[in-house]
């Protein structure tokens, strides 16, 4: 049962190697999508190319579905997945400022790394800017600390806010996604450059949209929260401990056998 690391399947040293691998795939797909190019990224703000929204929204929907189906099948314990806490005021302010930084600088943090790797000097300058911004934040931290910790709502989900189960929320998000794709493609047709826009077969698109809604609908009927509510922690523990031995624990940064200690959880 996942998350494997939290069940002590491997140690901290191995997790760093895994981070490198996951990062490699992450950077690779971002560059494939053209997200090392700030003109491609910012085109969304001039209604010309909504690749950013399509990639992000699709990734989110796929991952929501994946996590909830995994949970329903008993493959992952969502209680042990680190959930980012909500501090609503700094998040609203931070989002607005990051949006301005995005359209001004042409990148968001990860895409600037990809851009720099492909030789763009402005990407490197953006990274230097981010380091300066981080130093600045730390230096003024005593002044902003109160704001930084304001609006603390704890680790809450949309399900808590709206009071409906995650299956129904997911179904609604799937519907919104399909609607958003349709809408932005219409806008792209109007304002965008028709040569560079992807031309997908309408048949495949309709099938994919249908599949997405079907997967959401099944979740809405199944109600994954019911399965989350009965975690089978004690049952899974022994078998994981056996697995934990297979990896020689040369660096014992984390206690392997009890392995539930969260080493270093942080936002972004």
């Amino acid at each position: 049962m996942g998350p494997l690391y939290k069940f002590g399947w491997f140690d901290f040293a191995y997790s760093l190697q895994l981070a490198g691998l996951i990062g490699f795939m992450f950077g690779f797909v971002l560059e494939r999508a053209g997200f090392g190019n700030p003109r491609k990224l910012t085109a969304i703000f001039y209604l010309k190319d909504f690749a950013v929204l399509k990639v992000m929204f699709t990734a989110i929907v796929v991952c929501i579905l994946g996590l909830l189906y995994f949970s329903v099948f008993g493959w992952i314990d969502l209680e042990r997945v680190y959930l980012l806490p909500t501090f609503i005021w700094p998040q609203i302010a931070g989002g607005l400022v990051l949006g301005i930084g995005f359209v001004m600088g042409g990148y968001c943090p990860t895409t600037s790394v990809v851009a720099t790797a492909s030789g763009k000097l402005d990407g490197l300058i953006f990274i230097i800017g981010m380091i300066v911004g981080s130093v600045f934040f730390a230096e003024v931290y005593p002044l902003v600390e109160r704001f930084y910790t304001s609006g603390d709502m704890g680790a809450i989900r949309l399900t808590d806010v709206f009071g409906i189960n995650s299956g129904i929320i997911t179904f609604l998000i799937c519907l919104v996604a399909v609607g958003a794709y349709r809408l932005v493609e219409k806008i792209e047709q109007k304002f965008g450059d028709k040569d560079t826009l992807p031309k997908d077969s309408p048949k495949i698109k309709r099938a994919a949209a249908g599949l997405l809604i079907l997967l959401g609908l099944i979740l809405a009927i199944v109600n994954p929260d019911r399965t989350i509510a009965t975690p089978a922690v004690s049952e899974v523990k022994p078998e994981k401990q056996v697995e934990a031995i297979q990896k020689p624990a040369a660096t014992s940064e984390t206690p392997d056998s009890t392995g539930f200690k969260i080493v270093d959880d942080e936002g972004c």
Binding site: G27, L78, G129
Partner: protein, 169 residues
């Protein structure tokens, strides 16, 4: 020149699966902006260790006696750089340049990149994450704050896009 990039929906599906893989193996999502805060901390710690330790924010990265760079997200960011390099290499997109629209000069573009970076670095710390660490990762877990954050990113960008029109179009 018009570049041909991969289909965004396909990339979205693959990115969603990578994120799912990260959750399944590590119990956490993707991210990168904290890496830059860690680099910043390392730099300040080298120059003025007492100052770094006394600071309420730097000190959070200096706990445990390890280097602030021995962190999961730092390795993820290094991997992302390599992945981006590899992808750009196989499609001949590695090119030393300053990416910008046709009607803006190099030096203005670089100043704006610096300004945008500073704003982003600050904002990412304030909001506890960037587009990947907070928006993507949190939204996939249905975290309330992450959805609000993502919405605000778009609001902030659309609201000011007009002023940077010359930079990109």
């Amino acid at each position: 020149m018009k570049e041909r990039y991969a289909n965004p929906y396909l990339i979205g599906v693959i990115l969603g699966l990578i994120l799912l893989f990260s959750f399944y193996t590590m119990g956490r999502g993707l991210g990168s902006s904290a890496s830059f805060a860690r680099i910043a901390t390392t730099g300040v710690n080298l120059v003025a260790p007492e100052h770094a330790r006394a600071n309420g924010y730097f000190s959070t990265y200096l706990q445990g006696g390890k280097s602030p760079l021995m962190a999961w997200l730092v390795f993820l960011t290094l991997g992302a750089a390599l992945g981006g390099l590899f992808s750009a290499f196989i499609s001949n997109r590695i090119k030393g340049e300053v990416a910008r629209g046709p009607s803006i000069g190099v030096s203005i573009r670089l100043w704006l990149a610096l300004g945008g970076g500073i704003l982003s670095g600050f904002a990412a710390r304030l909001a506890r994450g960037c587009t990947s660490g907070q928006a993507l990762t949190g939204a996939a877990q249905l975290a309330f704050g992450s959805w609000v954050y993502m919405l605000c990113i778009f609001v902030g960008a659309y609201a000011t896009a007009y002023f940077f029109k010359k930079e990109w179009l």
